[in-house]
Symmetry: C2
Subunit: 374 residues, 2 copies
């Protein structure tokens, strides 16, 4: 009995602080792919759940114990960010350890399992994710970039690898493409299936002017700040991150072995960096790009059809049809076409969500670094 | 004007879902080292803040807009986990991107800046943190371990490094010692200051029986589950993680170049693994150890003073005096001393918190792998 008491005390003490344990089970994914959400909030008047990519919010109802619960429609297998909206305040699910890092809008994550979706961890050889803290002289801060190396990568071997530079969106941090986008899992699976070439993926912090994110979602309304953010990001990428990666990893430095892609703000950075540096990147892919100027002639002063069509093995511009950035993507593609620049135009169902971006990465990765021009 | 409207729409669309932006500023650290917390919760009846290591909760008061706010006492410079307690429900601060990963009890984090605390990122050469997903045959799941390599580590060079195996506590995941414990920052700083030898730090997932954490804080009450958790953890560490690390990194395989340390459950795993494998580890350090059996003769059947005192360069057992595990740590030390085994006994102010464990890591790391016996 004394032993039992001691163990009970020990188990209680193992809780690393005084907060009570999560009192309700949430989220609960049903065999029918519905998701039941629960939140104890005895005095709230309204609790909804907002799910990434779903226009319909789930309305929860309160029981006599003060626990709100409700069940979504059946969802397609995927990873979904979600938040409770308790009397209008977005809250992380306290019962769910799966959290989505974000500098402005953290959320919880629920996994509705599929049967071998490309972003689901599978029993295949895994690569490694390397987190590099460094001081940026260009931006003047301590920041970091992540590098994915594929399974079998050997730093002591002679083989060199192509590199995809993969950029996150506004409000993400440098962990966005791995923690939320599952880029390392997607590449593990595509490489194991023989669909993608073994490659490195470099995921840097995407802010040239970090104050733009501290300014919140209004930061992009300041054109000077916006431009500084793009310019210094490009400078940090090309003069700090890229040389550091090429120094410490086994990298093929041929421009035809270098790609750049990104989502949202990172899509705009991809276009701005890639199309102004065709000497460095042969593959350019923008996912739901947004936030850059629409004065294209000023943004791309030297871009010509001759240079782009000869130099680029890929110019891929995709956007979801429910994304409010769709029109500006169409407008930019129209400008490219008016200059007779070849562009792959992709419009798919979906909004401004990671559900779209994981699919876009899985779509472009197999076309990168192939021996033949795709 | 049209451009401004387009940019405003774009900025709004850059928000990656429909949740409203965080409406209040929280936490706010004052020049006097007080912290003001704010939470919009218009219908809550009571909102408190529970701060790691502080016995006193901060009571918040509601204003006419439904925003609760309150200010802590002046806090010593440190990193603190905290939760709102809204009508008894522990909530992450929706306005704070700094979150503490945990499988049972996620929290927010606030940094009260010091002047060069060893766990604060400084302008020194940084090492790299490598995340290795792998399939464990011993446990039968997909899991991961993290490896810290110090600044200047060169996988192609001949130099080899000593290794510290560093174990997290119950309810943490494999990221605990880096995301919360800042082990990589602590080592960066100690190495840059010449206080610690350059070393690798390996941080594996600490569950031999992952169902113990799915069972919640009561998991330790089942002695069979508890023992399976310890035994399979040790087996996975010694037969999977350690050989993989020694294969892919430049590691000195001498037992005098190998240390094991851990906190709470990981402290118990440290003692169980280290003291039963003195042939493999010359340094053993337990921080606030808890959760193992108190039938020491059964847990350490072959441990003798002769073997321990000759083989161990460090047997360090520390615990905070406000920790409920203090008594069981004293009891275990007493048993060691009754067997005439040399042990460094450390009791410091503090509870069962990361504030204690970061200090313990910073205390033991300089004593590891020195040429002379400390």
């Amino acid at each position: 009995m004394k032993l039992f008491v001691a163990l009970t005390i020990a188990a209680t003490a193992l809780a690393q602080n005084a907060a009570p344990p999560a009192p309700v089970r949430s989220p609960e994914v049903g065999a029918d792919r519905t998701v039941t959400f629960r939140l104890r909030a005895p005095n709230a008047r309204e609790v909804l759940v907002s799910i990434e990519g779903q226009t319909q919010r789930v309305a929860l109802a309160k029981d006599e114990k003060g626990v709100w619960s409700g069940t979504s429609a059946a969802l397609e297998p995927d990873l979904y960010g979600y938040s409770f909206l308790a009397d209008g305040v977005a809250l992380i699910d306290p019962g769910n350890p799966a959290m989505k890092p974000n500098l402005l809008n953290t959320q919880s994550v629920v996994h509705v399992p599929g049967n071998g979706l490309v972003w689901e961890v599978a029993d295949v050889p895994h690569g490694t994710l390397h987190r590099h803290p460094y001081k940026s002289a260009v931006v003047g801060d301590q920041r970091e970039y992540f590098v994915y190396t594929p399974a079998g990568y050997d730093p002591a071997a002679r083989k060199t690898y192509p590199v995809l530079y993969l950029l996150h969106g506004f409000s993400d941090d440098a962990s966005g493409w791995s923690a939320v986008g599952k880029a390392h899992v997607i590449l593990d699976n595509l490489i194991a299936q023989g669909k993608a070439e073994p490659m490195l993926v470099v995921m840097p912090l995407g802010y040239g002017a970090p104050e733009i994110v501290r300014a919140g979602f209004g930061g992009f309304r300041d054109p000077g700040l916006r431009q500084r953010n793009f310019d210094r990001f490009r400078e940090a990428l090309l003069t700090e991150v890229l040389p550091a990666v090429e120094k410490s990893y086994r990298v093929n430095k041929d421009r035809e072995q270098r790609a750049i892609a990104g989502l949202s703000m990172g899509g705009a950075e991809t276009l701005y960096t890639g199309l102004n540096n065709i000497d460095k990147f042969a593959y350019v892919a923008a996912f739901s790009a947004g936030g850059n100027t629409e004065d294209y002639a000023a943004a791309y002063p030297n871009l010509t059809a001759k240079q782009a069509n000869a130099g680029l093995k890929m110019l891929w511009i995709g956007c979801g049809t429910e994304d409010r950035l769709m029109e500006s993507n169409r407008k930019f593609r129209q400008w490219l076409k008016s200059k007779e620049i070849n562009v792959t135009e992709v419009e798919t169902p979906g909004g401004h969500t990671w559900l779209v971006w994981r699919r876009y990465l899985a779509e472009i990765a197999p076309a990168l670094f192939k021996k033949k021009v795709s």
